[in-house]
């Protein structure tokens, strides 16, 4: 009965995300996704290399699942579901068509860098510059939270 009450309350409060800062929300989500997945992995252990890849994949998946409000997380999920190995992004960069070419050398450099950034960001190839800049911002933030969560998990386990 208490559980039902709690669930009801949970439903109510889930519409009030302002009670928690989003960074904490993310961390909790992330850990809640990752730890059970790791436990599940624990059951069937195979060779270390495969295990590493699987762990990495779970790590990425937890990241993507914890940040579903962002565009890059959707792309990341797609990538993860399409392949079993977490590979780097495909190199075809379509930012050429999206970033305006500039005649100055400086601007050409900038374009190069934006292309690189595009490669770093999951799903970056399909975004234009403004989207990239926005998404990179929250991608960075989520990466930071992810690293701290992973650190604490590792610390805890050792």
């Amino acid at each position: 009965m208490e559980r039902q009450m709690i669930n009801k309350k949970k439903r109510v409060f889930s519409f009030e995300p302002t009670k928690l800062p989003p960074s904490e929300v993310f961390t909790r989500k992330y850990i809640s996704h990752l730890v059970p997945a790791l436990k599940k992995l624990n059951m069937g252990k195979s060779s270390p290399q495969i295990n590493q890849l699987t762990v990495k994949r779970e790590v990425d998946k937890a990241l993507a699942l914890s940040a579903q409000e962002f565009a890059w997380s959707r792309f990341l999920l797609q990538k993860l579901s399409s392949s079993n190995n977490p590979t780097t992004t495909t190199s075809s960069s379509s930012i050429q068509t999206q970033i305006l070419e500039r005649s100055n050398d400086e601007d050409g450099e900038i374009e190069e860098k934006l292309k690189e950034l595009q490669k770093l960001l999951p799903g970056g190839e399909e975004m234009n510059v403004e989207e990239i800049l926005t998404e990179i911002g929250n991608y960075i933030k989520c990466l930071e939270l992810q690293t701290s969560a992973l650190k604490s998990i590792v610390q805890d386990a050792t």
Partner: protein, 359 residues
């Protein structure tokens, strides 16, 4: 539409008359690409662009600005309010338009409310003359050909708008060209009022293309500023290139860190005996000095007090729950607004329930 096509046919018949003919030429071109345009969201813009038929502003509420010269839509870009532009034109200008000259198909597919962008695209369907395209030296950047064309075409559209009599067309041609080449706001404001619903500020180029450019640039630089605050140690950096470098390095280092940590995690996996609350407590207690910008994520340190409150004291709001067991603590976390998958959290069982999409 019937009237329009009639006029179009007449225009074709006229042919040779330079001034009148050209103004007519625009219409059959529109009529030609009409099914093409109508397939997208462009109809209002097409109707606006053609203009003479008088069906301009009725189709598109914000285009009412056309009838009302005093209304400037530039603030709409700034504030995002008003006539229903509820998204900043992210694909405005060359970014969105780069393929535009080649046929406006993909342009129609997004961003219904971007009037300036649509104006630009509306001009894509036809080319009045190629001369001024070459003369387009206004911007210091090299423009792609389609963009230049679209820019010019848009201006051509403007001209159609402004002149019931087409004798002024050539004069406006040249004056428009001058407009592109130098920044003066005042001489061209009168003709512009009839047509463009976006007005430039005084002392700045009234070329709507450059206005869109400016809006875009401002958005981009604002984002760069936010990123600057996000990436550590970038406060003194001025300049996009260096900033982008730093961002790239930082993202790469973060990704490497994650990889390294996950490798480590793989090796220590068997000993994984985690209590979430312990992790969270440890996590939250790590000090973060940075103030993050409003990318939707608050400073990390903000909730330390809250967490300790939960773990140590009985939260008065939810005092029915003991604070000792993991599950109950998780439940209290739920009540704090922690949106998560309850089945996964509370059970910690190997079967991950279907994870619901959140937010």
């Amino acid at each position: 539409m019937g009237g329009e096509s009639n006029e179009g046919e007449m225009g074709l018949n006229h042919g040779g008359d330079d001034q009148n003919g050209i103004s007519r030429v625009g219409m059959p071109l529109y009529a030609k690409v009409d099914p093409f345009f109508s397939s997208a969201d462009w109809d209002p813009v097409v109707s606006v662009g053609v203009g003479g038929g008088g069906f301009s502003s009725s189709h598109y509420p914000s285009m009412a600005a056309m009838d009302n010269p005093g209304m400037s839509c530039f603030p709409h870009y700034q504030t995002g309010s008003g006539s229903g532009y509820h998204d900043m034109p992210a694909s405005l200008g060359p970014f969105g338009d780069c393929g535009g000259g080649g046929g406006g198909q993909f342009l129609g597919s997004d961003k219904k409310e971007e009037s300036v962008g649509r104006l630009i695209r509306a001009g894509d369907g036809h080319q009045v003359s190629d001369d001024v395209v070459l003369g387009d030296g206004s911007s210091n950047r090299k423009r792609r050909q389609p963009v230049a064309e679209s820019q010019w075409n848009k201006k051509a559209v403007e001209e159609f708008q402004e002149e019931p009599q087409s004798q002024k067309k050539h004069k406006n041609d040249q004056s428009k060209e001058k407009m592109m080449n130098k920044e003066s706001s005042q001489s061209e404001e009168a003709p512009k009022e009839n047509y463009i619903h976006m007005r430039a500020r005084r002392g700045q180029a009234t070329n709507s293309h450059s206005l869109a450019e400016r809006v875009r640039r401002e958005k981009i630089s604002e984002r760069m500023r936010l990123l600057q605050e996000l990436v550590p140690g970038c406060n003194k950096i001025t300049g996009k290139a260096v900033m982008l470098d730093e961002i790239i390095n930082y993202v790469q280092s973060l990704q490497q860190q994650v990889e390294f940590l996950s490798m480590k995690l793989a090796t220590v996996n068997p000993e994984l005996n985690v209590d979430i609350d312990r992790i969270l407590a440890k996590d939250l207690l790590q000090p973060r000095d940075r103030n993050t910008p409003t990318l939707g994520l608050n400073p990390f340190t903000g909730f330390q007090g809250t967490m300790q409150n939960i773990s140590t004291t009985t939260n008065p709001q939810y005092n029915s729950l003991p604070q000792t067991t993991l599950e109950s603590e998780l439940q209290s976390l739920y009540q704090m607004g922690f949106v998560s998958n309850p089945s996964t959290m509370s059970s910690f069982s190997p079967n991950n329930g279907p994870l619901k999409p959140e937010l």
